[in-house]
């Protein structure tokens, strides 16, 4: 196991269960996950919907709803965040650890100028004046590739394209040069061409600032192209961890193999796609969940 000092984020036997008001206690969303991220690497967690990958990511900044109970330890730079008070947690968010979400246009306040939404993050953690924060925000906007940043500073989000808005979100997240960036499906809502640019941007910023990145996605292709190491999650459990190369060349777990085989662009055209075995397929997971919900609703 890596020594604690050079690992930025450590999950130790983390479990998350949601208190459901239905008759049956729902299965834990995250079930005993242990994982540690090395400083400066991009670690990808890939899994289908309902695999618990987002829930796990949300434990780091304490963004889970009150109905969630979290067990185990989540250490950021050797400090367990699970026990932190609300004010300590707030100080951590956006400074030491930053997080960005899937739908960029939904991550920005529609009534605030985009530049201010970056400056706001800076001033939340740095005691600097409005003007200095504005300068830094404009510099950040330029760094993430927004053309003519100074004049776009005052624009409302709806005046920018999807790709540009995601760049603003990334600039806002990296405003205080965090050590860890958690990106939950950062480019899924964008078109393929723009998605590639955003992923390259995240990779460049990681190398320039030495930021460790935890990338959450359901897209095997994205993980293959960008990540150093990859973890596969299914039904709350971390099934397999390996370098991107190992995982794609010699997947050890049957679910990973099935998942890789099922993705269209890896299989010869026209042949039937091998189907993920029933007990592994998300269908069975979904069905039991959907049926349980339907019975409760009857």
């Amino acid at each position: 196991m890596t020594t604690a000092s050079d690992s930025v984020l450590d999950f130790t036997d983390v479990s998350v269960a949601f208190r459901s008001d239905g008759p049956t206690a729902s299965a834990p969303a995250v079930d005993g996950v242990s994982l540690s991220l090395r400083r400066g690497e991009i670690f990808g967690i890939v899994g289908e919907s309902g695999s618990g990958k987002s829930t796990l990511a949300n434990t780091v900044l304490g963004l889970l709803p009150s109905s969630a109970t979290v067990r185990g330890h989540v250490r950021v730079n050797d400090r367990d965040v699970l026990g932190l008070s609300e004010s300590d947690l707030r100080a951590l968010r956006g400074d030491e650890v930053a997080m960005i979400f899937q739908d960029a246009s939904a991550s920005l306040d529609p009534t605030w100028p985009v530049g201010d939404q970056i400056a706001e993050t800076i001033r939340a953690h740095r005691a600097i004046g409005r003007r200095a924060a504005r300068e830094q925000a404009i510099a950040l906007m330029t760094e993430v590739g927004i053309p003519d940043a100074a004049s776009r500073y005052g624009d409302a989000p709806h005046r920018l394209s999807g790709g540009m808005r995601q760049r603003i979100v990334i600039a806002a997240a990296l405003a205080n040069n965090p050590q860890l960036l958690i990106a939950d499906e950062p480019a899924t809502a964008l078109d393929v061409t723009i998605q590639a640019q955003i992923l390259q941007l995240i990779d460049r910023l990681r190398r320039d600032h030495g930021t460790t990145v935890l990338l959450i996605t359901h897209d095997l292709g994205v993980v293959a192209q960008v990540c150093d190491r990859v973890g596969v999650m299914y039904a709350g459990r971390l099934l397999e961890v390996g370098t991107a190369h190992e995982l794609f060349a010699r997947p050890t777990h049957p679910y990973t193999r099935a998942l890789l085989a099922a993705s269209p662009n890896r299989v010869a055209r026209g042949t039937r796609l091998p189907v993920v075995p029933a007990q592994w397929s998300v269908e069975s997971l979904h069905e039991s969940e959907a049926v349980a919900e339907a019975e409760a609703a009857q």
Partner: protein, 319 residues
């Protein structure tokens, strides 16, 4: 900036047809009376000559178009016609009575907003007890008919405690202290129900903003809860709140009609009610026109505020 100016000009221009349509409705309503309004007005004194003479005097014998021309022409010339019963000029009557209704409705809405909005925000962000208490106030505030509340207030403060006058009015200019004493109960009567409604609207609007994804991102950026509520939640909820306040002014003007009756306040509402019972149509017509115009102007102001608050509306890119 130009798109905002454009928005303001266009919204102003839109008000003209609305006022025009309203004036036609008010004009037609009186004329659609089944039977002869003049005969019902004169009641037992109605002889054929009398009826004919009054019809001519009011110009009711002309074609409707001409009558409407006089009606609108009169408004622009400031001559709103005369009250048949008291023969007073309607312009003077309105000049005396409109300020009373404005003071009543205005103070009531101001108080309702001052109570409703802050409590609404606390209800949206507070703990279980704050939510329970505010919900109780909302359910009762909405369920109690405002004029019955007024009567109870009179029973307590004027009847039993005898610290406030049960009714009556004196203009602010003549006796500010006296005016306040007269206005406390009527304003409270209207404000409590209104505050409940605005509290519920604010709570719903702020809660819906706090559920939106960008608030999660704000929290992930370490922005303090207080700043999220003040800087972001209120700013995004404001258009919805202001719109409802605009609509509620209409309800308030309706409520003012009864409260003026209850507290014997010489407002336009009471003028219209008495005019109706007297079948005094010119006064009913002008009174209704005055109240409706106020309502339309207030809606215009609230729309402009909403346009100014939410850049997307002005850009026409509102999703």
């Amino acid at each position: 900036m130009t798109s905002r100016l454009g928005f303001v000009l266009r919204r102003l221009a839109l008000t003209v047809p609305v006022l025009f349509v309203m004036s036609i409705i008010v004009f037609l309503i009186i004329r659609l009376v089944p039977g002869d309004p003049v005969r019902t007005m004169l009641g037992f004194r109605a002889t054929d000559e009398n009826v004919e003479q009054v019809r001519h005097q009011l110009g009711l014998d002309q074609s409707w178009l001409l009558q409407y021309g006089d009606f609108i022409g009169g408004i622009f010339r400031g001559d709103l016609g005369t009250d048949i019963v008291s023969h007073a000029s309607l312009s003077d009557l309105l000049a005396q009575r409109l300020p009373v209704t404005f003071e009543l409705a205005g103070l009531a809405m101001l108080l309702a907003v001052l109570i409703g909005v802050p409590l609404g925000v606390r209800a949206a962000t507070g703990g279980k007890w704050v939510k329970r208490l505010t919900e109780g106030f909302v359910v009762f505030g909405i369920s109690i008919p405002d004029f019955w509340l007024g009567i109870l207030l009179v029973l307590v403060f004027a009847g039993t405690l005898v610290i406030l006058p049960p009714s009556g009015y004196v203009p602010f200019a003549d006796d500010p202290a006296g005016n306040i004493r007269y206005m406390i109960l009527p304003v409270l009567t209207l404000a409590i129900g209104e505050a409940a409604y605005i509290l519920r609207t604010t709570r719903a609007a702020v809660t819906s903003v706090l559920d939106r994804p960008f608030v999660t991102f704000l929290r992930a950026k370490g922005i303090r809860t207080r700043r999220i509520v003040a800087g972001h939640a209120l700013r995004n909820a404001a258009p919805a709140i202001v719109t409802v306040i605009g609509i509620q002014v209409g309800v308030l003007l309706g409520g003012a009609i009864i409260v003026e009756q209850l507290f014997a306040l010489p407002g336009v509402g009471r003028l219209v009610v008495t005019a109706i019972t007297q079948r005094n149509y010119p006064t009913v017509q002008i009174g209704v026109l005055a109240i409706a115009t106020t309502f339309i102007m207030v809606s215009l102001v609230t729309d402009l505020i909403v346009g100014w608050l939410d850049p997307r509306v002005a850009d026409g890119a509102a999703t």
